[in-house]
Symmetry: C2
Subunit: 343 residues, 2 copies
DNA sequence: CTGAAAGCGCTAACAT
DNA sequence: ATGTTAGCGCTTTCAG
């Protein structure tokens, strides 16, 4: 009973494979009698259709590829993407799709597009940073439906947090607490999140007529805590003459490092200096004091990405290659507070 | 240039599809001339073999299923499994396998085995807790090679941390610091990790001649922080007459909640009471004070699981259905300290 | 060394 | 309503 095919159940029921196939796929021209006989036989023989054969015959695999990069510590290990993926998965598997992990790190000679073609996937969720845009170019320009979440591409719809809005939310929060000297630890300027957040900072400061102090801006080399410590040291080395009253970072890990560095140097957070982050990753709730940050709605991102991809795969041509912005939300915890004395 | 098959390159080169196939698969009986012609044509026409057709013909999909459950907040969202999966993936993709996510939460009528059969996977990595053992029974008993990581099954090799050893490591550490009244917050007794850690605690206490105090033992209902707070309250409610000098939990989240609860009640950790955890998840480094815990070697687990599965899929019959224990390591941070005054 | 042809399991015309 | 048959793209005997 290892491999039972529709031929087996055709033989058992006395009907032809064609009829069996039709019955199995709920086609119209099949008698009640045949349908029942087929169902019974399938149950008895424990028949499971072979998706490989189905795919070969129909050119539909019911497979969605999750195309991602493992550089930047991204990929599966980054909770941000995993959470989006989870939500995406829930959305698409309700329509019968399975998820295939595709990151041809090893298959050097073959790119993402070839890999996708090879596996006959019906669509792809792409999480590739701009720095590796070249790797997904052929895929995005192919006829395989795609949706992007990590970065934005003009050839596919993308779903991404409202980085600008989120940055503005936090800055408005700090401003309302009386902060005017707001330092900024920027994320690396190698992709949309880093760019947009930094630009929003500059815009906010300009709009409110606050001076943009070069000594209050520093760039982290990546999104790790280690880079955060380096950036924190650098910032403190630059701004000791005129300390900011608040430090806002483009990513929670950077804020965490900043917070820790400040405490070690004897500054009290938030009494002497406020610290704010972006992302609301798990550690922000565990930090001491708990970090005020901007939360991304990852479930919404995954869900919308799933819906868009499903529509594309269904041939819905009304899905445009535009950027969908998912609103963020301000999470006020303990690392920010009203400024006490202004000098 | 959308779909190029070996027929196309056969036509272009003038050779037959058989020869083309042989050349592509590096078979013996193919002339240098034919081989070169085929390679050239493939490159020019951007040929990518169709894995679906290959699978149908060879019955080998080069697909490995990651079979997991989404209950218990497990699945992709649990960093523990994701890290193991990452390591596993690195191991198997070096051999040309792709990973397919399989968790038939939605496909209620079809179980894991049917799902795997449907997709023709070559092997499966199973992360299913004992509480759902029935769902993987048919899969594990089938001819599909399997390796288990979340729980142990007698029908497949499993790779799992040395829970007993780890528990003993921590208890020995606490003992060496002078602790004798060691309370224990057990994980739910619904699976191997929970069982083994709890049993090891009992064994250690017995071996060292320490009394097993019912008021110093409490069971968490699950692995979440919330359950941890409940357990912490329960423990403090039971043991106020005779406080333990140390509290050891079967999981870091539980320890985190314990630590937080103690601080809120005015106890200083570790000065008045030591707290220890198990797992070394991310938050343990962020807790205040940083948590002393037992680290699991997830990379080693994933790697070994991958190696075992590869061997099984290669038909290596020397791979036994045994439990492979991966050593843990004691990570001493700031939440445990030598006991000061013994009464 | 190369070509022809059968077959993998299923679907989808096309007949009947 | 049911049966027949030709593919889907590739591998693999088996001849030549």
């Amino acid at each position: 009973m290892e491999k039972v095919t529709i031929y087996d159940i055709a033989k058992k029921t006395g009907f032809s494979v064609g009829t069996v196939s039709k019955a199995l796929n709920n086609y119209k021209g099949v008698s009640e009698k045949a349908r029942n006989a087929v169902q019974l036989a399938c149950a008895e023989m424990n028949f499971t259709p072979n998706s490989t054969a189905q795919t070969l015959a129909t050119k539909k695999s019911n497979l969605i590829g999750y195309v991602f990069s493992e550089t930047l510590g991204g990929g599966l290990l980054h909770p941000h993407f995993v959470q989006i993926l989870q939500s995406f998965k829930t959305e698409v598997e309700a329509s019968g799709y399975d998820l295939l992990l595709i990151n041809s790190k090893t298959t050097v000679d073959n790119g993402f597009y070839e890999h996708c073609l090879h596996r006959q996937i019906d669509g792809a969720l792409i999480a590739i940073p701009r720095t590796e845009a070249g790797r997904v170019e052929s895929l995005i320009n192919s006829s395989i439906p795609c949706v992007s979440i990590e970065d934005t591409y003009s050839e596919a719809p993308s779903v991404i947090s409202d980085n600008k809005g989120g940055t503005m939310q936090m800055l408005a929060h700090l401003y309302s607490l009386g902060h005017r000297k707001i330092a900024y630890i920027a994320a690396p300027q190698d992709g949309v999140p880093g760019w947009e957040r930094y630009e929003a900072y500059l815009q906010f400061m300009t709009e409110r007529g606050l001076p943009i102090n070069e000594n209050h801006i520093v760039f982290a080399t990546n999104y790790t805590r280690k880079a955060g410590y380096t950036a924190a040291e650098k910032l403190l080395g630059k701004c000791w003459e005129e300390l900011p009253t608040a430090v806002f970072s483009a990513y929670d890990e950077l804020s965490y490092a900043m917070q820790d560095t400040l405490e070690r140097r004897g500054y009290r957070v938030p009494d002497e200096i406020s610290v704010a982050g972006f992302d609301d990753i798990l550690i922000s709730q565990c930090a001491t004091p708990k970090l005020t940050t901007i939360a991304q709605n990852r479930d919404a991102i995954g869900k919308l990405a799933g819906q868009l991809l499903l529509r594309r795969m269904d041939g819905d041509t009304s899905v445009e290659n535009i950027i969908h912005r998912i609103p963020t939300s301000l999470v006020v915890r303990e690392s920010t507070r009203r400024i006490l004395d202004q000098n």
